[in-house]
């Protein structure tokens, strides 16, 4: 059984009769010791879906799912108190911006020890020792003196290490990392990712790595899930997605990578932006930006189908040559 099982997770905001679907029937699973990468542009629902897993979507947001289970326990229908015992202990999360993730009024030590106190108990001395261990583990130099530091005295990279220490304090079985490196500069990014992967391997954690950095997931993730405007567009093993994308969106994302733009004057881009609440197209959500879109794409929304062992949401999945299948030539409208 998978560690985390998500089936048709939907998160809606706004009024009941005219809701805005930030996440639309997304399914995935993460196993012990597995790294699942979720990629997509800003506004694709990556963060919202992970917040839903953590139980951090507040009223007026509505979370529904056919299944949302952790280690066989139904997260959605358990009492709030029971769920809090899992949140922060078995499932932990690392957030995007380390500089705002730490409470400015409390010392590093107090914030890490708090998580330990809530879930593990023990006395103050034990908690302090464990905190020191954790700071060592996440590679903080001179951890003893950092214990009593306040967040404003730490650099971004250092803060993110503290946030990671806080997240792994109770030995979680699943770690959700929501763009853990976005706010950091490039040299620190690699260090933080290496640290996360090392921790993940050492303790056989499941890792849900949310990012818009394709190069990052290609190295780190076993499987990849491509999201767009709240929907799952494509999922499958990381290497095969990189070798042969089946969805035009994945293909366009990969082509936008600088290393794949050799021989072009400019980097390739995908024109337009992710549709928001008020400009959702009637047909396929990607249609206005898709280079292969035809009349059918503009009118109807495709469902997720199995194509050569991969889940793809497209009427005309791409073949190994990167050409749409099942479409008459010259049919594209854009």
């Amino acid at each position: 059984m998978a560690l985390l099982e998500v089936k048709n997770l939907t998160v809606e905001f706004g009024s009941e009769d005219k809701p805005f679907r930030a996440v639309d029937s997304v399914s995935y699973s993460v196993d012990r010791g597995e790294v699942l990468g979720i990629v997509g542009e800003s506004g694709s629902g990556k963060s919202v879906s992970s917040l839903a897993v953590m139980g951090l979507i507040d009223f007026p947001g509505r979370v529904t799912a056919d299944a949302l289970t952790f280690d066989g326990q139904d997260l959605l229908n358990m009492p709030a108190k029971r769920r809090r015992q899992i949140t922060g202990k078995d499932i932990a999360m690392i957030f995007q911006d380390p500089m705002s993730a730490l409470n400015p009024c409390f010392t590093v030590e107090a914030q890490i020890m708090e998580a330990l106190k809530v879930h593990e108990g023990g006395n103050k001395k034990q908690r302090r020792e464990r905190t020191l261990d954790l700071l060592n583990q996440v590679g903080i130099p001179d951890p003893k003196s950092r214990m009593t530091a306040y967040p404003h005295q730490l650099s971004g990279g250092m803060s993110q290490r503290i946030v990671i220490a806080m997240a792994i304090a109770c030995n979680p079985r699943l770690l959700i990392a929501d763009e853990p490196t976005t706010a950091l500069d490039v040299t620190i990014q690699a260090q933080i990712i290496d640290l996360l992967l090392k921790l993940q391997e050492d303790s056989d954690m499941g890792l849900l790595l949310i990012t818009h950095d394709l190069a990052l997931v290609s190295e780190a993730a076993n499987r990849i899930q491509v999201m767009y405007a709240g929907q799952l567009f494509e999922s499958g093993p990381a290497d095969s997605i990189f070798a042969a994308p089946r969805h035009p969106y994945t293909q366009a994302l990969l082509e936008a990578l600088p290393e794949r733009s050799e021989g072009h004057d400019r980097l390739r881009t995908i024109p337009g932006v992710v549709p928001g609440q008020y400009d959702r197209p009637a047909g396929c959500l990607l249609a206005p930006r898709c280079r292969y879109a035809n009349d059918q794409c503009l009118k109807a929304r495709p469902e997720v189908t199995d194509f050569n062992g991969r889940d793809v949401r497209c009427f005309y999945p791409l073949n190994d040559q990167g050409q749409p299948t099942g479409m008459a030539t010259g049919e594209t409208v854009l």
Partner: protein, 336 residues
């Protein structure tokens, strides 16, 4: 820290100087002659008038009078009351505990009602509870103290008879003041019922005086809390699996209180100003009532000394609040 303290003390001296200047000349703009007021209904003969003028130094040019006064102030001499002939500082120190007691109760009322109301409104944002508490606080803020105090007296004292109308203690009890704080003295006296009497006398003045600061604090707490609740670290705290109550009371409130503390410091001035009205209405024997009476009698040294001392207290309170700020907010803790 010490450097900061000295710099702030350095700011106080020119302000203090300015206050003496303002008070000294403003009082003399009020029509009425202190000597004629002293003489009362009997008129005073011109020779005697001139004699008295010379005695009080009013025959000197006003600049000289001011300079004489200033020299006295910097030597710790605030002068003697025209009316009672007692040193102003002695009278002030006798009456000040009564005002402090009232002001302290007022600010406690304001904080302990205002902060929870603000938190309650913030966590129920947009719901009826939010609208209700914010309407209450707007009403409280808009109400003139003297009118609100009269309403309280009419309802609770006259109609319901729950509390006494005025004063600090029932006439049944008498004991020598030890600390000057009635709540403490009544306990020390050991007289049965004295403490209850002191408390019941305090309730209405406290509410009347504390209502405006309470309203200000409630609104400030609400907006500050709303801002903090949207911060990422609140989400992180919840992601740790901490119960919502602890997230709000520990993680959010601690941060939300930082601007509220500044407001509380500023309210001390409002409170002492309000105390003048409140004390007059409730016949509370504090410095507010004392200054008003001195004004009616054109008792210059008392007015000058009293206002100067109030200004001094307000400035010191603001200094204390600034120091307190560093304790609550680690980001501005001053370097040693």
């Amino acid at each position: 820290m010490l450097g900061f303290l000295f710099r702030r003390l350095g700011d106080i001296i020119p302000t203090f100087f300015g206050v003496t200047l303002l008070v000294f000349f403003l009082i003399r703009l009020i029509p009425g002659d202190p000597i004629i007021m002293l003489a009362g209904e009997r008129s005073v003969e011109p020779e005697r008038y001139a004699e008295l003028q010379a005695q009080y130094g009013f025959d000197q040019p006003i600049i000289v009078q001011y300079f004489d006064y200033l020299v006295g102030v910097f030597q710790g001499d605030l002068g003697k009351s025209f009316v009672t002939k007692k040193p102003v500082i002695d009278e002030f120190l006798t009456l000040f505990p009564a005002t402090v007691e009232l002001a302290l109760m007022g600010i406690l009322f304001a904080v302990f009602i205002g902060v929870p109301l603000g938190v309650l409104a913030a966590i129920n944002r947009g719901k009826w509870i939010d609208h209700l508490t914010m309407s209450i606080s707007l009403t409280g803020y808009s109400m003139p103290i003297f009118w609100w105090a009269l309403l309280l007296i009419m309802f609770f004292s006259t109609t319901l008879g729950w509390t006494p109308v005025s004063g600090r203690l029932s006439v049944m009890y008498f004991f020598e003041p030890v600390t000057g704080f009635m709540l403490i003295d009544s306990l020390l006296s050991g007289e049965k019922g004295a403490f209850t009497s002191a408390v019941s006398h305090l309730i209405l003045p406290t509410v009347a005086l504390g209502t405006i600061p309470m309203a200000v604090i409630a609104r400030m707490t609400r907006s500050s809390m709303l801002e903090v609740l949207g911060e990422e670290y609140i989400r992180v705290a919840r992601a740790k699996g901490i119960a919502p109550f602890r997230v709000i009371m520990i993680h959010a409130l601690r941060n939300a209180l930082i601007p509220v503390i500044t407001v509380i410091g500023l309210q001390v001035g409002v409170l002492l100003g309000g105390a003048i009205l409140t004390e007059t209405i409730f016949s509370w024997p504090g410095i507010g009532k004392w200054i008003i009476e001195a004004m009616n009698r054109r008792d210059y040294p008392t007015i000058q000394g009293g206002i100067l001392m109030i200004a001094f207290v307000v400035m010191s309170m603001n200094l204390i609040v600034d120091l307190l700020y560093g304790i609550v907010n680690p980001r501005i803790r001053y370097k040693r």
